[in-house]
């Protein structure tokens, strides 16, 4: 097990280097050079060709792309991701304050979506062809077909316009963060974000439970005279849920995509909102830092999922 983890970690290092290359290439797709983006057009207009040239040299922009990448990477290794064109603050600090809100939002949505989705799926499978099964199946089809932002609009319409009972803006009412107030603000964004995952987990769990319930060992367990409670709880449920670890982690990137939309619509001050604001402000250093960070985050959550899976399923033995 330890060997497996260390080997996976060893693969992660070249992956991170590759991620940094892709990130660097991404941002260099931008038309014009960073000097245009950094300066006020009026300021730029007032400068002589020579001044612009010396600025370009100052930032190392006159060098070829691989050299610029090496220079950038040398700074990144020291923890310097550059400075925002917009706030002039260090990129790392800009991102650091946005991590926790996004983690809070996505983990809550992940928990809601998985737990409720599993419950719906199990109930659907145990009561196959009942009205409840039918309603849940149709609902999960709609859950997958309707975009997150439309659910957000409907939620806003219901809980902010028709029944104004939930806050629609930010993480707390004032600058302070009493926990209950924060959770109150979390309800709508996290609820909306969880719907897509909930729908796919419901569908998956239903199919997996039905398959397991029809398998020989469940029939054997019943024939042994075990109570239905034990058959379902100990024999069927556990096996049906194992692949769920992989399924939920594979959906993490989608969850993050949804977080961009939800954070923007509910002004939730996370990385998604920072990304959208930085795009509007053409703040390339922040975008570069964010892209790198998010990819590394996904890499490590996939790694975590693999390790969890190996731990949970004794049949898997990695050499």
């Amino acid at each position: 097990m330890g060997k497996y983890i260390s080997r996976r970690l060893a693969i992660a290092i070249p992956m991170i280097v590759a991620i940094s290359m892709v990130t660097f290439l991404f941002i260099n797709l931008a038309p014009g050079d960073p000097i245009d983006a950094m300066l006020d057009p009026e300021e730029l207009y007032a400068m002589t060709e020579k001044q612009v040239e010396s600025l370009r040299r100052h930032y190392g922009l006159d060098k070829p792309l691989p050299v610029r990448y090496a220079l950038w990477l040398a700074q990144v290794v020291r923890g310097n991701f550059g400075y925002s064109y917009y706030t002039y603050d260090a990129v790392l600090r800009e991102i650091a304050v946005r991590v926790m809100p996004t983690v809070e939002l996505t983990l809550t949505a992940l928990a809601l979506g998985t737990v409720i989705g599993v419950a719906f799926g199990v109930v659907s499978a145990l009561r196959q062809y009942s009205i409840l099964d039918y309603v849940l199946s149709v609902a999960s089809l709609f859950g997958l077909a309707i975009p997150t932002f439309f659910f957000a609009l409907v939620a806003l319409y219901l809980f902010a316009v028709v029944f104004p009972i939930l806050p629609v803006f930010g993480m707390s009412t004032t600058g302070f963060f009493p926990l209950h107030d924060n959770l109150y603000h979390l309800i709508m964004p996290a609820g909306v974000l969880s719907l897509d995952l909930m729908a796919s987990v419901t569908r998956y769990t239903r199919t997996a439970m039905l398959e397991v319930l029809n398998s020989d060992y469940v029939t054997t367990a019943r024939a042994k005279g075990l109570s239905e409670h034990v058959v379902i709880g100990r024999h069927a449920f556990r096996n049906a849920l194992l692949p769920l670890i992989t399924i939920t982690t594979l959906r993490l990137p989608y969850l993050f995509g949804g977080a961009i939309i939800v954070e923007t619509m509910f002004s939730w001050p996370g990385m998604g909102l920072l990304a959208v604001d930085s795009i509007h402000a053409r703040d390339y250093p922040v975008l570069m830092g964010l892209t790198f960070f998010v990819a590394v985050l996904v890499l490590f959550s996939n790694l975590l999922a693999d390790i969890m899976y190996a731990y949970a399923d004794p049949r898997i033995r990695y050499g």
């Binding site: 038309p31 932002f149 609009l153 990137p253 923007t264 795009i279 990819a295």
Partner: protein, 300 residues
């Protein structure tokens, strides 16, 4: 299956007339009632969008400042927007953009995914390793996040949006095709083809690709649905297709203000329903295709 019976299967497969095979697939598809309904919805949207200019009483971009934000009425069945444009006409025209973005992006993603999957699965060894790591690398960039950044960097034209969604969406297809190729290349009929001296290109295109295509077709259909949602979300945030070109996503942008949300529901509910019914339709067609084309069903 032994080598001998595998060899006998080749002429047997060829003996089945093409038209019969297609008919049975269509019959299987037709039995899936939801798939037929989905296809019907898509055709209706498609025909409406194609015939729009001659059918609609109002142009989608005709500004009428005397009739701004009007609720649905007989002359404007879904009301008008902030510039007095007819919402129904815009929904119909927007369908053209939204659906073509979905189709083209899915086509790009499927072609890239199929090529990478074929090469990766058939070549094996280090080529497979390199392509697998590359696929994993692309997968670590969350699609929607990468799409909004790339579209912003390249410029938010319809063409760029199709390209970016396509180039970020092939990973699933590549893995699917690779998995299929791994099992197909060990099949007796492929070994037989190799034994009679077929070139690698011929083996891939004539023997393996047709076996993979049904899976690609089903996955591609689901990609169309995903691409439509991605484009809509992008345009809703104002980072996608720019006004005045109407898409279902950017038509709903106004609803980010609580006033519009409260008092002009005709501006955001109809485009949302258009997206929902299209995506649902596409998903049903995908399910129907799975039943109709799944080669395992035909064998069994």
């Amino acid at each position: 299956m032994s080598t001998a019976s595998g060899a006998r299967d080749i002429p047997a497969l060829k003996a089945v007339p093409r038209s019969t095979r297609r008919t049975t697939a269509w019959e299987r598809f037709r039995r899936h009632r939801l798939a037929v309904a989905g296809l019907g919805v898509l055709l209706a949207f498609g025909i409406l969008a194609a015939a729009a200019p001659s059918v609609l009483p109002h142009g989608p971009n005709a500004i009428d400042l005397d009739h701004v934000k009007e609720p649905p009425s007989l002359s404007h069945i879904l009301g008008t927007d902030v510039a007095g444009r007819d919402v129904f006409a815009r929904i119909v025209i927007a369908g053209r953009v939204s659906m073509s973005v979905g189709l083209v992006a899915a086509l790009i993603a499927s072609v890239i995914g199929t090529i990478i999957g074929l090469v990766s699965g058939y070549a094996g060894s280090w080529v497979d390793d390199v392509l697998q790591r590359f696929t994993e690398l692309v997968m670590t960039f969350p699609t929607f996040f990468a799409v909004i950044i790339l579209v912003a960097l390249l410029g938010p034209s319809v063409f760029n949006i199709m390209l970016v969604i396509g180039f970020m969406g092939w990973t699933g297809k590549a893995r699917l095709v690779r998995g299929q190729v791994l099992s197909l290349r060990e099949m007796d009929y492929v070994t037989a083809g190799r034994a009679v001296g077929a070139s690698t290109g011929r083996l891939l295109l004539v023997h393996i690709l047709p076996g993979v295509m049904p899976f690609v077709a089903v996955a591609a259909t689901l990609t169309v649905a995903g691409a439509i949602i991605t484009e809509a979300s992008l345009s809703f945030l104002g980072l996608g297709v720019q006004i005045p070109t109407a898409t279902w996503g950017n038509m709903m942008m106004g609803a980010q203000s609580l006033t519009v949300l409260r008092s002009q529901p005709w501006l955001w509910i109809p485009p949302g329903l258009a997206i929902g019914s299209t995506v649902l339709g596409v998903n049903f067609v995908g399910d129907g295709l799975r039943d109709a084309l799944d080669p395992r069903v035909r064998i069994g």
